[in-house]
Amino acid sequence: MAEKVLMKGNEALAEAAIQAGCRLFFGYPITPQTELSAYMSKKMPKIGGLFLQAESELAAINMVLGASAAGKRAMTSSSSPGISLKSEGISYIAGSDVPAVIINVQRGGPGLGSIQPSQADYWQATKATGHGDFQLIVLAPSTVQEMADFVGQAFDLGDKYRMPVMILSDGMLGQMMEPVSFPEKGEPVIPERPWAACGHGGKRPHNIVNSLYIEAKDLEKTVVERYKKYDIIKKEEQKAESYLTDDAEIVVVAYGASSRVARSAVNSARAEGIKVGLVRPITLWPFPVDAIEATIPTAKKYLTVEMSMGQMVDDVKLVVNGRAPVSFFGRTGGVIPTPGEILDEIKKLNN
């Protein structure tokens, strides 16, 4: 195991991307993802990579589209308002079956909102990152170590399924420092991209990277094929952590930053003899249906905790499907809930 170092979450994301073989980073300044771009701007030139500060989020995501369409691993990062701007490019990337890694270090919204940590972009990330029928794979780290670990996975998943992958983080995880280690993995294995537009060299017919289908039936066929791929992903790639759920009568569901607070609350509640557990979705899309389903036999009540007005709670309800009541507790606007607040909610449900 490599030595543990203290690193900000944002820096860990950047270092992990470099270690995953990403040599092209395109970004536009926004708080609270700042350290990620700064790290890239410092490190990339020293390793023959590129940090390019784009003129806008629109430009940055489309530079990613171009670089990835030309066959190379590329990444961009932003925070909530910037992701809204990137949504156009993300839709085109999905529609062109191009891999890409997009980091969202969430802050409060809507509008300019606040710069404090938030989870109010869950719907945007999992349901509506842009126009049209498509999905992103969405990974939600909850520690700085996971920030580091998930970036390589995101690039691999993107290449495996030829689609964009988002890491949905937030200002707390981005700004905080925790010990992190980068295990020696050697040179990353980057799959060939025979479909890439990088010059045919007279050796093959021309490649076209495109999202336009003027015939409705052609587009339908393409989208249906893409959804077959999504079905495989739903089956193969779900990930969640289940904590003290074996006998849990109250199941708390929380991801990312809020899951950390929820875990503290669960520990306190257990100390008081309450049978409570935590399911922490790691993939937000595909939603970890199986992990929730596994709690149904013992669960009498569900509590979803988010730093929003309640977004993921809808997905929890879809899985639970009326078999138990699902309630919600959240703080929004950039306010981080306290363990005490969540403990109070758990106690209310235990009465």
Partner: protein, 266 residues
Amino acid sequence: MAIVFEKPHALTDIPFHYCPGCTHGIVHRLVAEAIDELGCEGRAVGVASVGCSVFSYNYFNCDMVQAPHGRAPAVATGIKRAQPDNVVFTYQGDGDLAAIGTCETVHAATRGENITVIFINNAIYGMTGGQMAPTSLPGQITQTTPYGRDVKIAGYPIRMCEMLSTLDGVALAQRVTVDNVKHVNEAKKAIKKAFENQINGLGYSIVEVVSTCPTNWGMSPKAAVEWLENNMLPYYPLGVYKDKTAQNSSHTGDGSSDKPQKGGEN
């Protein structure tokens, strides 16, 4: 019998969908001829932009990427930075380059992004059915300026070559047209030069082609050419606005310094 003319190799066999009298066909051929003559089809990557010419990805024989509306310069930047040996060109209309994508255009240009840009200025949105373009002339009747472009409401047209010529990153900014044989030959030379500049690493090269849109102008192809000559060319004078390869270009000043400088200390 000797072959005196044939379709360039860099064009596919797919017939163009363009309207009769549309000048896209001529410009496509000129681009393809330049690619053939420079022998760079195998390493060329084109970026098709939103508008009538989006289907150019079917017509050019090189690898092609289709970009969101206005973002062709950003997509081309990504391709070129990922694969610096590729010869990357965008093919953009006036709505794409001078309205929704002005920001991307200006910044790709000022970065000196080493790409070639073919800019079709026909003063109208073709694909959506003839709305006002950023380059529509004052008084010009379009679907969205049914009483003529009123500059008090809609403002004035943009002269992109003139504007871009002020930027240090631009290697070539030249306006041409294809209304007659002489002009077609000049356009060909300019387009070829724009590709050569990229191969020589000189930076952003743009060739603006003043073009017709008979369908949306509501004219016969012949009348459209006459309207172009009588109305477009006076507003958009042909010529070289910037050329880094020429000795006495009017904008050769390069006041930039490569030395790191801290803000506020100079």
